[in-house]
Symmetry: C2
DNA sequence: TTAGCTGCAAAAGGTTTGCAAATTA
DNA sequence: TAATTTGCAAACCTTTTGCAGCTAA
């Protein structure tokens, strides 16, 4: 329905940071760039650290964690949990939810629209407003599902 | 539709343990009892440890963690993540999902049937079989939702 | 007797914190 | 200059692990 939104740029994110009274440092810029470079992936904080260190070797983990936290406060970035293990970060640009296979750990992105029926129902029945995803749904992907017979007609 | 299933008993769980070649120790019995005593709550491993230690003061955390893991392998217990922080354990008796308010951390239990529409859709569209919940859905409960006006007609 | 538990202590993994020094605006 | 960031190191929290001794069956 809606065309893909124009991707957010490094400068736009840095502007948001500036606007909030923040300062733009080399490390912060590199962190944002690392995030944009993986627009379509789910990166852990540790992976961001590595990406930043590939360019500036003396960056501390804590700095990256702090920058990610700040970006999250600004609403530019979100983190979510795909599974046990480290959280993954991504731009908060297009809402979507994740399915994670508990066997092969494959990650499937699914459009937010799919969930509106459910979230509407939860809203009506419980007055609960489901927000953007913080946790993935776990289960088995096609490949890992025990090969049961085809669904009958 | 279906009446509440008869609650599982301590002895039934211990039998399952025995059947799997396990041994019944005082600590294991106390762990199971602690779990049953909180049938309607979501207890962290730490809370189970405390409950067990209240009766037998020298129980090691690791023992309780190991017992919980064993019970999980037997399918008697599950753990799930309501939020950041420790996992919560409960009996794997009746399938349900949890909503957690990110503001007040209230936990709402919701019946599994509510999700069949969605899970069916995910099955059809992605060949993905959503399994019993491992993660909660996060959002805002009625009390914490910014008091917006009533939904217009 | 012997496979299976246990406590202890230590480590692991991911993230946060305190602080003085460095840097940005 | 004043406020914000930074690196470092240490702490944190939850969970796991190794191991020698203990115990249920």
């Amino acid at each position: 329905m809606s065309p893909a939104p124009p991707p957010i740029t490094v400068e736009e994110i840095l502007d948001a940071l500036r606007l909030a009274g923040g300062r733009i440092t080399t490390t912060r810029r590199a962190t944002v760039e690392a995030l944009l470079a993986h627009t379509d992936r789910h990166v852990s904080a540790e992976e961001v650290v590595e990406a930043v260190r590939a360019r500036y070797s003396d960056v501390a983990e804590s700095t990256v964690y702090r920058t990610l936290a700040t970006l999250e406060e600004l609403g530019v970035v979100t983190h979510l949990h795909l599974d046990h293990g480290p959280a993954t970060f991504h731009l908060a640009d297009h809402p979507h939810r994740h399915l994670v296979c508990r066997a092969c750990h494959a990650v499937i992105e699914t459009p937010a629209e799919l969930y509106t029926g459910l979230t509407g129902e939860l809203e009506r029945r419980f007055g609960f407003t489901v927000e953007d995803e913080h946790f993935a749904l776990t289960g088995l992907c096609r490949a890992c599902r025990p090969a049961a017979g085809a669904t009958p007609p």
